[in-house]
Symmetry: C2
Subunit: 319 residues, 2 copies
């Protein structure tokens, strides 16, 4: 019997690190996870990680052939294989690829979560067969992965694709990055919460959300209120879609993609976010690009996307 070639896809997150064995066509053969415990030194994490990988791989030694490892992590540098001051991990600077190379001699590649999601989409999801597209991840932060000519754009330093930190309003909201008016401050999970808060304070629109304190408010509650027809929640999605659409109109002027794919929590709000985003994207778009660019939801299976993205990263290198 010929052993099936597989890769290991790993998503290093602030709370948990998920990993899975993934086949060429995106089949998730087995998966597991460990707590990241990022308050402890990185060396402690990697020892536990190594043990867990070996345990995961053990049953497949004779039937499957591990040919590469792909990792997604915040603030990851593709060229150096390092994580540099990640926002939700207390590690300063970690040589991820270098550390793993002491145990594995197969190719190992690291990139940030949004780039991994984009590659996952290209190999296994909504961007299959596309050569020019943009993946936008709408989560705690707003990330992006830009693919042009069939290749991920990493840029000169490995940090390209920060559309979430392009500025949509120079006098706008303060951002975690230290500047003002970044797209992320309007279209992240926290961004829509801030929009609801603004609407509560500046409009008379009735809403069930008026009874929830800002710190208790979740984007899920906003979505559920919108489903019940709550006028203010609907308005918040409209505002969010307007900022996102405006930014995406600019994105199109940069790389003229075939499609823009929305991924992550806010993208699950369906028409509530897609309808205004599409509307304003077309409204603010330059004439030559109008009605050409598809706005699509991610087609990666929920909960598996991070592992599949990391697996796609290494498959993409190997193929």
């Amino acid at each position: 019997m010929v052993a099936e070639d597989v890769v290991l896809g790993v998503d290093i997150g602030g709370t948990n690190t998920a990993m899975g064995i993934v086949g060429r066509s995106g089949t998730l053969i087995a998966e597991t996870s460990i707590p990241t415990e990022a308050q402890k030194p990185a060396a402690v994490f990697f020892d536990r990680f190594h043990t867990q990988v070996e345990t995961l791989l053990a049953p497949f030694r004779h039937t499957h052939n591990l040919i590469g490892i792909g990792l997604g992590a915040p603030n990851a540098n593709y060229y150096k294989g390092t994580i540099e001051r990640p926002p939700n991990l207390s590690w300063e600077f970690v040589d991820v690829v270098g550390t793993l190379k002491q145990w594995y001699t197969i190719p190992i590649v690291l990139t940030n979560d949004a780039n991994a999601a984009a590659l996952g989409e290209m190999l296994f999801g909504a961007a299959k067969g596309m050569k020019d597209f943009i993946e936008i991840t709408l989560g705690t932060g707003v990330g992006s992965g830009i693919v042009a000519n069939g290749e991920m754009i990493y840029g000169h330093d490995g940090f390209a694709g920060e559309i979430g930190h392009t500025i949509v309003d120079h006098n706008g909201r303060t951002c975690g990055c230290g500047r003002r008016g970044c797209l992320e401050t309007y279209t992240s999970a926290n961004g829509i919460r801030r929009t609801v808060d603004e609407l509560v304070r500046t409009t008379a629109t009735p809403s069930e959300l008026r009874k929830i304190a800002f710190d208790d408010l979740t984007s899920k509650q906003i979505y559920e209120a919108a489903r019940r027809g709550d006028a203010l929640a609907l308005q918040a999605f409209e505002v969010t879609g307007k900022y996102l659409g405006m930014a995406l109109a600019d994105s199109v002027a940069y790389t003229s993609p075939e499609a823009i794919i929305l991924f992550g929590g806010l993208a699950l709000a369906g028409d509530f976010i897609f309808t205004p985003t599409k509307h304003y994207m077309e409204e603010y778009m330059m004439n030559i690009f109008k009605n050409k660019v598809r706005l699509l939801p991610s087609a990666l299976p929920q909960g598996k996307a991070a592992i599949l993205g990391a697996a796609a990263l290494i498959w993409n290198e190997l193929l």
Copy 2:
């Protein structure tokens, strides 16, 4: 004797069409030009063009070997080889590559002026050896050519790289493209004229430019006034550099280039434009990108850049 391989570089402009025979290292061996006469049908132009090319090539028949033709033109579509509703030509839709193929069986490639300038910069100019850079052309309009992973980004439809039409102020100046606040309305030759006009009307800053009617004002006069220390002219460059710097900070977040190269009339103003642009680009840039990106003037020889860019386009395809 072995004939030297050369290409023909052609720049189709609103007034004149320039062409030259260009060697592998960017040597311009011979050049000529004809009036475009774009008010007459395109077929008339191409017949004259063909005659002129043959005249230009005749003396080199035995010593040089023409292996390709590259053309730069406004609103050119790289994939289709067509020009579509160019702003300064009365032609509706012209199949440039198709037309030339009746006479030449060698590879023929067409792209827009800014992409050609970027490729010229990559092969013969300030971006030699770079894989990730952005060329910004500051002329009558503002164009751009984006190179990532060593490849020009043409996008899905061939029209990528319209940074001049990303929006820097949604309530801003009306643009020729029908929208408001495009970068072009602030940083083109006309953009800085509009800025001077605004400063004349809204400030008390003394200036020799106050005596010149808007229709008579040229960007060259603004530059000369700045050289004489004219406070309002200097302020106009500061404003222009601020808008350009803000936009370029966003550009860096997209593709994280090694350098951004400024090309065209306004770029010739040297420190007057480079100093404020660099200052605001760094000020508005995301932390991880700060002090990494070089802002450089074009190193293509003035007056030859369009021909060399078009020649670089075809050399880049052939190599």
